[in-house]
Symmetry: C2
Subunit: 368 residues, 2 copies
């Protein structure tokens, strides 16, 4: 087995554990910072490690298009290419084919599409998705899935569930890289019965980990929050559970309560580039003139490089002057914030105080 997963403590359905990979161990629940194109935008691996990042996510679709998975393999694999010594999970590219590629055509065979970069015609089959990820050499690979839109009609979602099951099996058959785990992806939108059906079919195939895909693609957060506990309960208790592409801090805590172990989202870095800071007291828009003369850091008790060295006034200045360092420093803090939140959630689960911690966070973030 290329990865192992051990659960340490439980509090209701929430749990803490350790995911061990060939590139190191990660305490869960945890957040995977997104490095789509083999780089977390604006941050060096050293800065990421200092912010507390242990595991990164990168992307099959983007890397296959540019620079090419064979080139990365030739250069020693993705870890070496991007100089990240810790664990890496690669998404399969399913989501990107459906959201980024142009003029796509999806059949049971696979997805035919035109690259969003140069319009070149390409094909992504389950076998090719596995091959790309084997070339990249990630610690965790994901099966190719069909990710239907949140507003897709029941027939579209039902067909995506059927096809994702079919593709998951072909991925599993084709997968052979030792030291790399292949996770399955459950689809089904917010239809609990379809989620149950999708999960059941994939559990029969016995994967080492399971993801919930197709959330945060347009449905309301309330619908997702309502669906999560049951959806998580359909997944094997003793294997890692990953909620893909979600989300805001409040979404993460709801999902942790439901028993999710792994998360990824562009929110901390994309928001950082757009001058939005996450703090224990809620979000701050750093372009707002009220920060202009503020000598305080973003958070007085945050140990990140940004908070220990720079004032809100300086961050405001960097964004006002359109300076690159603004996005870098704010992304750095936001990543540190997300990882700190996950660390606090773990500590609260271990201490048996998770419900109080969760309620306290919401009370501060969403003042009445």
């Amino acid at each position: 087995m290329s990865i192992t997963f051990q659960i340490h403590n439980r509090r209701g359905t929430a749990r803490t554990g350790v995911l061990t990979t060939p590139h190191g161990a990660v305490e869960t629940p945890t957040f995977m910072t997104v490095g789509t194109q083999a780089t977390v935008k604006g941050l060096t691996p050293d800065q990421l490690a200092a912010a507390g990042a242990k595991i990164l996510l990168s992307n099959t679709y983007h890397l296959a298009l540019r620079p090419g998975d064979e080139l990365i393999a030739e250069l020693g694999g993705l870890h070496k290419f991007m100089n990240w010594p810790g664990p890496i999970l690669t998404d399969s590219g399913g989501y990107q084919v459906f959201s980024l590629a142009e003029r796509r055509k999806i059949t049971d065979h696979g997805a035919e599409f035109h690259s969003h970069i140069d319009g070149k015609k390409l094909e992504l089959t389950p076998e090719r998705a596995v091959e790309i990820q084997q070339n990249l050499g990630s610690d965790i690979a994901m099966v190719l899935d069909e990710c239907p839109p949140a507003d897709g009609n029941p027939e579209v979602i039902r067909n995506a569930v059927r096809r994702s099951r079919l593709w998951a099996e072909r991925c599993k058959t084709h997968h052979s890289r030792s030291g790399q785990a292949l996770f399955a992806i459950v689809q089904g939108g917010t239809d609990i019965a379809l989620r149950a059906e999708s999960a059941k079919a994939l559990v029969e195939l016995d994967f080492p980990g399971y993801a919930l895909g197709g959330f945060s693609v347009g449905e309301s957060p309330e619908l997702m929050h309502a669906a999560l506990p049951e959806c998580a309960s359909f997944l094997p208790e003793l294997k890692p559970r990953y909620l893909m592409g979600v989300g805001r801090p409040q979404d993460l805590l709801v999902a942790v309560a439901a028993g999710i172990d792994l998360f990824d989202c562009v929110m901390p870095t994309r928001s950082g580039r757009n001058a939005l800071a996450f703090t224990t007291e809620g979000t701050l828009r750093m372009r707002n003139a009220r920060h202009r003369r503020d000598s305080a850091p973003l958070e007085s008790d945050c140990p990140c490089y940004t908070c220990t060295n720079f004032s809100r006034a300086y961050l405001h200045h960097l964004f006002a002057a359109d300076e690159m360092l603004g996005p870098t420093l704010l992304s750095l803090h936001n990543v540190a914030y997300y990882l700190r939140l996950m660390g606090e959630a773990r500590a609260a689960i271990d201490a048996g105080t998770f419900e109080a911690f969760h309620a306290g966070c919401l009370a501060r973030w969403i003042p009445r």
Copy 2:
């Protein structure tokens, strides 16, 4: 005296020394990395220090416009604002008024202009330039000068020399901040007689350091190279000499040979953002497809973070994918390269081998 300067060794007119400021000592000759808007574009102070930077340059014109020199003073000064604990030199804004400001009108009283940011009407007098720099709290302030274009007719250049002398005196009279040195700026274009006249008039006013301004503003490098030895000889032997805004590595070595101690230029950072790398063997254009599969670092013996951790192939990928980390990593290397070149020049002067070092550099950079 707020700064002291000691010469250690000489080789011809080249010399090594130490410039001591309230924020630390700097071995000379050295290069000052440019942080125009209170930030070196894309680099944190930690990254700059790791690259070997000891002294930064920032800008009166830009900071007075945004965020405002009084705001910076209120927040504890420029060092604290940008979190740079080492020495800072601030340029007076003369060059920017002439190159960036809109609809400017220059009289002996000062410069009236419209801000390049919001078109607001502003005035920069010698007294105001000193006041701004006193608010910023830099270690070295520069007098306000008039920087004529390289193709200005003799009358324009003659008048700039006269006015710069007048303004230098008013700056000196107005300057009162202890712990801050005020340097004078010699003008005169490439007219040696005018440079001599300008230098003589300023030396009579007895400043603690002298700069050569108005080079690298459009004249050919050959003209500048030819003029430098005499121009440097007009400046006091025992005081620091600063060649403003120059330049390419070959220009720096010519100037070091002529007895210059301090340099600044946007070239390493601007080139870094534009995918141009400086190396001991010459420049590399990192967007060029020939780097696509190259697993070697930019320079195998460069100790910088970029060279010790990333391949040319990865840097090429970052620029091809328009990723922020490309400009950051390449700026970092280029700054480290410039500082390393200055360190090697100092070592060669101290060892009595500067001419051979200089010739060796040129032979590698400009292959026949």
